[in-house]
Subunit: 284 residues, 6 copies
């Protein structure tokens, strides 16, 4: 995303936190004082949000030097970004920067951990997030997943036809829903269908779906579904996504059962922030 | 907050998710179809975000009926909000509504759980959140804490003088920082000071602080600090807040050690969303 | 797109035109006067923008009744929308409404005319627009194309990988570009590649492209390309889009030559507005 | 208009096109790659939108060099703007820049063509546009007309009293409408009145109008009106504007018939975009 | 100005005052309590801002009944607006409403007082304000002047050519400046020129100016100027505006000296707010 | 407040004044002309708004040099800011800059005058403003008060519990209102109560108020109240604020009567702007 558009999103975040002004720095920090500060990791993880930090800091006329890039590993105690400039500005923006950086790094850290398990098991299965993000943070949450090695899935409601249970209910069945989508949607979009039974998967593929989401299937059910889809000569023609009930401890088994993608809503809606802090290192 | 201002915040959240339009409902759901839907809890917890859900739904010209109020307990399987109206609108707004409702309810649930422990121990200690929220969600995260029975602490940077380590560093010590604040800040604001040593607490109180934050003190250190503050005849004159390292399993001990407030950043920056879903109940 | 989001887009259009207020109505039209008005067609065409007109008018607290629906044919002299309410409001909003309605109807009319030619020739070829719209009017221009029976193609830059000449240049060739996209893009997006030679089409398909855009191919060149792709057993495996140099008089030939989609930038960047006007019919 | 205000308008146009990010450049173009690009004319015309292109490009931290100025002639094949910098940024902004530049240049080209005809006939008649622009593009459309040598007419609803048929209908006649305007409007604004009969022109002038718009008069009717206005000693005291039915082939005749201004809605609502493209010239 | 656009301006004013929420009403006023309130005048004056009050209150879902209309006289102790509905909402919006209403009414009161003096002296001289308003309040300040019977003068920078000293300096003299404006500006705009010497007035009129502003002329100098302009047969051909040094006590003399307009910056930049308050009258 | 957030507020002020563009400079001032200008004081006072002027000018790519700092005295005839750069930009922004600078300086001048009287009388009494500002200008008005040596009081509705007559009425009395606030509001906020009788002051203090506002008390009543509060041993435990009826001529007496704060709404709602002008000093 071009920097100019990110700047505006970041400015709004900062503005909310500032309110009518940072009364503490105004009362305690001398005007015009220049300092050097460092953002320090208080636990290990994967860096994400570094680009945003640099943009916000530069936009506030601060000098900033990223010491790790987005996607790199960071160790407990490591300095990850150096910021210098006007002390009041740094202290007023500190929390906004840390909130974004620690959320994005938290997401990237979990994502990397889980994709690492799939890679260790020599699986090509993709790990995807969903649209279950913090409200208003779709862009940042999905970018953090991508930095962690995950797949962003739908970016929002306009880039993939994803037919879920409620759509099927109002459309009058899987076949009708997919045919309607096939007929009315742009050729430039893929069509994914959420199913709860293998038979519906077959129907969906025959109606023209590109991706099948097996919703809340256990590992055993996935395996059985794969067998049936192979029998129907459908397996391999479309992508298979497993969703629902997938956790760190069964992720690899889902992958081994034969799906192309596993998706986990908790990646972005139950985030554990990475512990970071900002320290004034030197008063110039 | 007046409804009109909330409406705009909610509209922006929805707009981000919609992008250029919900291509799935446009392709699959008949125009003009009217349905009834219910938001169902898939686990027990405390409801929060109900007011926002009602406002957003009404603003989208949907009929909405809250079946629980903010702050009430909800059971697994319970229907918490009924929404009826245009099917396309309901399905396009579903995820935005659920994302906000499940985040706020998740925060309220954890907060209620922790304040419950303090109440069970017959403590008056307040549980507070911090400014460590999801970026841009200060208002909603803090409101959810309040619904759960917690204290919102600072709403943003303009409503409390909170002098932290970095401020003290640039101001040249605790006494100087507090005196500067006392002199330059409005009479209408309280002054809080973060200290890492009991001696600094005494200095801060003598310089005019209203609240002392004991930063990263163990329970044992808190107890010792209280003893010393009593000796200095300072205890009871100001509010004491403990912050850092406080968890479900030691929370009560911190309260028993004699602080007025315990604050926990994880309440709002490491949220576990409450599991909710929306189901179309009836096609009219 | 949910009404609430459209309202804001429409409000901004109106606000630009109003400036500091409509000084003519303030000086000439009595306050509180209520009138009935009609939007009349001054030439035949296809209606588009009716939904937007209704939303804007209702949002201004006017009563509005659409006499044709989006996508319906309108005749010269036909009344297409009735609006009644405060005279000043109607006259102040007249031009904004007509500008949107006449642009969208103009686009829909041309699109319907061209898709009609394809249908008359019993072709299934889709007619698509491009991102060559009036700046800032992507949503409305593409919606008008859709109403006219065309395909919206990409809605913006985030919903289809479309690798064009410049991308290929910097990526170092077609194969490299497609492989990079295949590896780094989400599974939920299709990949389209623009080529100027048939050989590149084959390369792109083999690398995993879903759609091939044959750029500036004459009808003869398209026919030759189809032959070669059939020989390579690639034809039918991917969608073929012809783009560049396509006009009303050769459109059908392009379709007959075997492409799935023909796309025309002029549909949205060289629009002829449909001639409409608003008349006060009755002063109450 | 000060650059800072333009920047925001341009940022919004870009943001709409970007959505959640340009997934093609992210997937295909290496991060940090620097290139040189040129915007090339694919047909001859008059440049307009150059200032906007420079502002948007500089605002995106690109280096930009305009090779023609707004209002200058450009030839088929000519390079008109050179842009260099980050490849991803250039490719993501390419379409927004070209859309604005080709629309504005298209408008300026047509305007110059028509004003040229008036000048060749040695007429001082001004060619004006109307408020019939693309919705939301008033500023850019009118600026392009001005660059092409046309008159912007009203910039929006607050800078000229323009009493049209509907106003006259609700005000109860031409005389009443103009008197009301004369009495209630600021001295700083001119008053224009649209009439369909010569008698009304005389009434309007006597009531104090500054400009008369002869609406949908044929050339013959204009000539006759001029004769009558001369007889009434009104000709020359006010400006005369002809509007409706004016085209390239009768424009000069309208001018010769004695009006001061001819206005044409199609200048801005039925625009033919100038064909331009952007080419990566060199990878650094 | 259409209500919808005013609503947004009023919403932003309210939002600034609310911050993260009205903590007093939240803590003290029961949720759901309904009350009746009245806005009372604590001094006599002219009402202005009533329309805005009604719009804001209705927009907040309050019932509102204006007891005086904009422009009517109000007496000390009079109830001017009745508002009923949710107590929290009324109390949270109280200050925003009163601030706007008391500023606008203060402006209207002073304006009416001064225009009354001109009318009593049987002068047709118009009293105008300038662009010296509170920053960001151009629309409301000028509307209040109009309600008080004054002339709004320029609404902003795009609706009148007003050539002032600095413009003349850079243009190289009055004649050059006016000629340049005449040639380059739209026919739809008037041209006003600020002069400090009578000779320049003559030059300006001859070059085509529509209005002459006599800047900082004493009453005596005005009279002398009028004599000279009559001698030059220029008087009556253009409008004359006196500006600078005009006060309540010399206003009539300026009018008698023969100018068409007197303008006073203090009308809008040195406002005395009318004293108003809101009282809860009844708890339902 | 960080510069980036101020920039946006200032941009919006400028944008309102510009409308569709400054047609005077476009018509009269050559493009690209560079000049030097100075903002001159036409009366003595205290500078405020200098920081905002610098930010806006720099943001418009002008060179700017403040010759006085916010809070410094300025003399009649003194040059206070030098601005150089593009002539069109300077002239288009002139009025927006002067409007803000003259309002803020006017507020600071009055505030300094009044605080000076308190200091001369060797009083420590603080002079505070209220929320009675120009609508939408809370931030700038309060900052100007602070620059003039006054206290900002509440910044908006979220930073102090201020229980006024209407709140007390709906809450059912002073004691109930304060207890409710004490119980429900965050520990981080002070509680102020407005009273009209001394007895209520005692009740409020006993219920836990931090500040008592004596509303519309005469100096004599204040003195009596202080005596009673001393008798009740309440004096000195809380802050006392006098509000209502305080003017330049009785301000010192209020201070001497024993209150800690005097507050005056007119400081910000009945502002006399400082007279300033901008002159082009040199054409480069």
């Amino acid at each position: 995303m071009p920097r100019k558009i990110l700047e505006e999103k970041l400015r709004l975040m900062l503005a909310e936190d500032i309110g009518q002004g940072d009364i503490t720095t105004a009362a305690v920090v001398p005007s015009g004082l220049r300092v050097e500060a460092a953002i320090m990791a208080k636990e290990a993880g994967i860096a994400a949000g570094i680009e945003e930090t640099v943009i916000l800091a530069e936009n506030l006329k601060l000098e900033v030097k990223a010491e790790v890039a987005d996607g790199e590993e960071i160790k407990n105690g490591q300095s990850i970004v150096k910021i210098s400039g006007d002390a009041r500005t740094i202290l007023s923006a500190e929390r906004t920067i840390l909130n974004l950086l620690s959320r994005m790094s938290g997401i990237a850290t979990t994502t990397r951990n889980l994709t690492g398990k799939l890679r260790s098991a020599r699986l090509k299965t993709k790990l995807a997030c969903t649209r279950k993000t913090a409200p208003g943070l779709l862009y940042f949450d999905k970018k953090a997943v991508q930095i962690g090695g995950g797949d962003t899935h739908r970016l929002h409601l306009d880039d993939l036809i994803l037919i879920k249970d409620n759509h099927i209910a109002v459309a009058g069945g899987v076949a009708k829903a997919v045919k309607s989508a096939k007929q009315r949607a742009s050729f430039s979009k893929k069509i994914e269908v959420e199913v709860t039974k293998v038979e519906d998967a077959v129907v969906a593929v025959e109606a023209g779906a590109d991706i099948i989401m097996l919703d809340n299937f256990s590992v055993k059910q996935i395996a059985k579904a794969v067998t049936q889809l192979k029998k129907k000569k459908v397996y391999g023609k479309v992508l298979l996504e497993a969703s629902g009930g997938i956790r760190e401890n069964n992720l690899v088994k889902y992958g081994q059962a034969g799906v192309d993608i596993v998706s986990i809503g908790e990646l972005t809606n139950s985030v554990k922030a990475l512990d970071l802090s900002l320290k004034i290192a030197r008063i110039k």
